[in-house]
Symmetry: C2
Subunit: 345 residues, 2 copies
DNA sequence: TTGAAAGCGCTAACAG
DNA sequence: CTGTTAGCGCTTTCAA
């Protein structure tokens, strides 16, 4: 039985058992252990059993760092979202995590805080880990990010938006159209005086633009708007609407860039003795659980964060596992949206 | 000028520039590039400049997989939480991410779904990546998980709980005490008939136990309780309370295992014409934004998820960077909690 | 079916 | 201050 070289523990670091340890115990060569674990069909049943026992005896856990270096594939996916404090992204993160895990991938989470520069830094740090794929939120990246993304040759899926010039694959919906539909919806129900409470991120801006554009086409040029900083919090929605009212704004419908803000707006309205939706209707965005299940007086644009996550992860997996000679699957998915009515107006 | 061996591109995989490429361009040895990047002080200014230029020219991004293998340190931290759908965990995740990033670490996120077996699987997958540290939620792990954790020799911080037998460091608070304090708080305000709406995870169970124990000491033996499945959602809280009321339960105060459930309970109460807190008071747990900022009629146990995350991450960093001959910093932090009053009762 | 040799890209150790 | 050498733990290639 041959001996295999063993590391000599330079810094007496705590050492986990290695393939070589297992091989020694099993009485086979390291490569046989490797195959028994990763390509069992290539190995005799006898060898497989010996290896299996040795693995249990040593408590061996493969070192994916070394494996990744050798195969140049990390089975790691970079996932960058603005925040997990927004439930809609939390749901997307969950779905992505789950779907990736099904295919043997793991997600490295980065939180960009709705900030392109922070995204760029995250991206740099993450690219150093040589992920097999990347999932980004939105289409709005710095030039440097874009350059790195293109140079990296790594499959990429952008999510939560639709646009002309994705880096690679794209899974989302049109925020501009969402805004237009929200306007059309309210106009169709007879509302005439509008106000808006919106966050300042780029997708919220697109929705607001769609909203005001559509109103403008209908002859309504003026929409008092209060822009709050991300992250959109209940409390900020509440105070933002309070400010508008204090400024003497009169409206029969309030546009909100998210359900969280809408919820705050409703609370503020109620606390001032306004009835919702009789005195003032409120429309939000995001399909939070509380919007769907309970608020008796809110309409909301329904987005399925889990769907987006699942579809995005699947698209990415397809790209990551595509053969080099396959035609590159140029994915582009419009997951759509719908307006959900929860009020009696 | 010496030449350094270069990979011969077995599978014509897309190749990112390597240290050797940079060394060639800079006209120095690879190790000098490595040092210029990681230990600039060990290198002459001239060399540093040459390397800097070569890096820019080649668009080089270091390969941390290779570096990690060589140094046996990944600068990766495993982070396992039950869910990010619960805002309190979302906040913890954010704080941990942020704090780790400050020290040059990155988090690998795993979602256990409040499930020990799922946690075990995640742990196995993550340990294969040889993280430098591990942050877990709670003290409740499978035997296999515990064995692996101990065997791994990796610094570990458990969070969100306090207990006798942590694997390593521990940052949290006593859920049992939280429950007792909630009971004491309500008793002190004169409430006498209680009901409970609670999730079925292990920490929620501890809180409920503290709550009912304290009430029992005060002679109140019966607390109608509706246990809902995790994840605790607004809608579930609402229907859980509805069920209790339908069963004829009379109460003047409702204990909820989280603010999300409390919010649902309040909505259900209001929708049935009950005034909160005049007819029924509601107490929750978690300090969500909406509880703090707005609900006029809820009391809540205030927990600072960001604090826990920050403290936990710092404790972990301290352990990860501790010298082998230093005494092991046996961290144990009780971050405490407080009850926040938002009602006028 | 199994093994030996040669790296993956980087850095620790030990000279110079 | 800079370079040489020898791995880190695994897998690929090529032989047997």
């Amino acid at each position: 039985m041959k001996k295999y070289k063993q590391r000599k523990d330079l810094k007496n670091k705590p050492k986990a058992p290695t393939l070589i340890d297992v091989a020694r115990v099993a009485g086979v060569s390291p490569i046989t252990v490797s195959r028994a674990l990763n390509q069992p069909d290539m190995v005799s049943e006898k060898a497989r059993e010996k290896v299996q026992k040795a693995v249990e005896k040593t408590g061996y856990l493969p070192n994916l760092v070394a494996g990744g270096l050798a195969t140049r594939s990390s089975h790691l996916v970079a996932l960058i979202v603005p925040t997990v404090a927004n439930p809609i992204f939390a749901e997307t993160v969950r779905a992505i995590n789950e779907t990736l895990a099904e295919y043997g991938y793991q997600a490295l989470l980065g939180l960009s805080g709705y900030n392109r520069d922070q995204e760029q830094d995250l991206l740099e740090a993450i690219l150093c880990r040589r992920p097999d794929g990347i999932i980004l939120t939105g289409l709005d990246h710095t030039d440097i990010s874009l350059r790195r993304l293109h140079a990296s040759q790594i499959p990429i899926v952008e999510t939560w938006d639709l646009g002309d010039d994705p880096v690679d694959a794209l899974v989302g919906f049109s925020h501009y159209d969402v805004g237009k539909e929200m306007a059309a919806y309210l106009l169709g129900r007879g509302y005439q005086r509008f106000a808006a409470v919106t966050a300042d991120d780029s997708r919220a801006a697109k929705r607001l633009e769609g909203f005001t554009d559509h109103l403008a086409e209908a002859g309504i040029k003026h929409v008092p708007t209060n822009v709050i900083q991300t992250p959109a919090r209940f409390s900020r929605g509440r105070s933002a609407f309070g400010t508008l009212l204090d400024q003497g704004v009169k409206c029969d419908a309030v546009y909100c860039s998210s359900d969280t803000l809408a919820h705050g707006v409703i609370t503020e309205a109620l606390s001032r003795g306004l009835r919702v939706p009789e005195d003032v209707a409120v429309i939000g965005f995001g399909d939070l659980d509380f919007a769907e299940a309970s608020l008796p007086s809110i309409s909301s644009v329904k987005i399925n964060g889990a769907d987006i996550g699942r579809v995005a992860a699947q698209a990415l997996v397809a790209k990551m596992t595509a053969d080099d000679n396959d035609p590159p699957p140029q994915t582009l998915v419009d997951v759509g949206f719908s307006i959900m009515q929860r009020d009696s107006a």
